[in-house]
Subunit: 389 residues, 2 copies
Amino acid sequence: MNPPLSTPGPTLGVVGGGQLGRMMAEAAAPLGVELVVLDPTPNCPASPVVREQIVGEFDDPDAMRELADRADFLTFEIELADPDLLEEVSETAGVPVQPSPDTLRTIQDKLVQKRELAEAGIPVPAFRRADDADDLRDALDELGAPAMVKARTGGYDGRGNAPVENPDEAEAVLDAVGADEGGAMVEELVDFEREVSVIGVKGDDEVATFPVGENVHEAEILRETVVPARTSDAVRERAEAVARDVLEFLDGRGVYGIELFETSEGDIQVNEIAPRPHNSGHWTIEGASTSQFEQHVRAVTGRPLGATDLRSTTAMANILGEVDERQTAELHGVDDALATPGIGFHWYGKQEVYPLRKMGHVTAFGGSSDPDELLRKARDARDELSFDT
Amino acid sequence: MNPPLSTPGPTLGVVGGGQLGRMMAEAAAPLGVELVVLDPTPNCPASPVVREQIVGEFDDPDAMRELADRADFLTFEIELADPDLLEEVSETAGVPVQPSPDTLRTIQDKLVQKRELAEAGIPVPAFRRADDADDLRDALDELGAPAMVKARTGGYDGRGNAPVENPDEAEAVLDAVGADEGGAMVEELVDFEREVSVIGVKGDDEVATFPVGENVHEAEILRETVVPARTSDAVRERAEAVARDVLEFLDGRGVYGIELFETSEGDIQVNEIAPRPHNSGHWTIEGASTSQFEQHVRAVTGRPLGATDLRSTTAMANILGEVDERQTAELHGVDDALATPGIGFHWYGKQEVYPLRKMGHVTAFGGSSDPDELLRKARDARDELSFDT
């Protein structure tokens, strides 16, 4: 290893050019890594800061082959990437893809993901397969109701998840999560004290975890993250230990977002894993010695990992589409947010806003080591912003 | 003011696409600002991270007009920009240019710069005009020898500057600095204790200064900066006060690099001003709440300035072309530098290296609040790197 750096540097081909690709590009340039992204939306969020965008669907073999041909390394920033196609173009072009398509395959199917985690001895909430309403009713007998129904594939940002209150709702809920496409699963509703997450990264013979973040969700969508999580040292240590077990279980270099529940008894259970940088790790841009995006680029291009220590207490608040319908995005109040000392502002460059779409985020750091105060500060800055005129 | 943000966001047209343009692009994306750069070198350092590079000379009217037509705001990252042409294309296209071309004009001519600073009551070393050898010999009678001869225009990174030891060398030194092109000036050699600098920024009705940095030069080229400067509080306050006077004197929004001498008596004198982000401010990327690049983008696009406070003691070391002749750049030892905890790595994406060319920089931050230790750490990381095989 330890390859020399020259210009043009190594090209990283990324399936997906959304905000994660955009922030990856911002972090890749200082490392001398150039990005080419594949995304179906012309002028996707990453496009202004990458060498090139290939406009194409994620499952378009020609577009994927073009991406692989242009790249020295391949990765993805969305779970919608096609693992078979990734494997094929990687082999044909002789270009490594990280994380492993096998890992992507496992994670894409929430039932398989949970089953394999459980088999690896990693604590997860009780769950059952629920392909049809009869399955689901049987499962509710065992798990109790209410419970959480999840489409096995295709869901994100809360889409594909829905609570089921009682057996009579079985059909309606399966319908609502879109279970007809790839089946569904049902999970016990965890009586959690708080939701936490650990951003982990696997390198070449090394792993690292960032400090544990505490997440605030509403309607299944992440609203805020604050670091360090406002819990006990023991819980933080347990969360990190579970995250390290998860990293051990996963195959392939790269960053993983590991969402966890802290139960009311102080236990840790794995909720979901994302095989990519994660919204709950955006705080690392200002808050950690190395950002999750830089870590991902380092890991997938075979460079050593950076330090993951917290620079100072940090809070992140998402700028979501608080609108009634899809419309051209016009964000107001930007100067008010920018004029607040110690606020980082991140716009994702999306032309349209729709309800609850992730449009950007703000980060509060410095000036205090009190998580409550920084969370309040991040929220206040975010609340200066609106899509209404 | 307080314009809403939409996508595509405002486009900033930048004259020059070197490392300053590259780091400006990295900082602009989170603000929703897209860059188009004008640079004569195809695949210039900024090119992988900007929307578009226009390949053209800085004094090519057609290329400059194209840049202005593509932009909502104009700025420059090199003093070689042509102020007359900037003024003309800005007016024709109806696009504001910041800082003011007048300021660029003043700064481009080192004699005019010094004269106007002196007239504004800002402390500068004693200086004289020296158009020919007779002038120079007369000046040396007054200022004493040795002294520093500087070409009035076109110099950078120490080129265009040379010490003169005695009157007999007058012709040779004027020749060496290239005085035939735009004349020369001569300055008393300041008996300085240390070289410091302040990165200052002018916004719309507000100014801000970053903490005072201490610079280490060798052969007139900046090698390292450490912040805070290892001097007394009184000297730091004096340096900031002088920097604020300089900002008051300058016309136009944007970041300015203000190089200062701390004399052996603890006085502050202005050495030189750059009307753009400056090498001695690269530490701000990791070390300050807002980087000098983000500040420049905020200022020239009419947004409020960010906080300039120091996040932690920080040291920056330049990766210079330590080679005997121009060659394809191939940097070795990158993994060793990247594996050092708390080191930021910045590659500028230049294809060729030549003696003392600025190729990148490393930043040491965190883990200690001792400037000596961080300076040593930055140097050690930099010294892992070499262009020899």
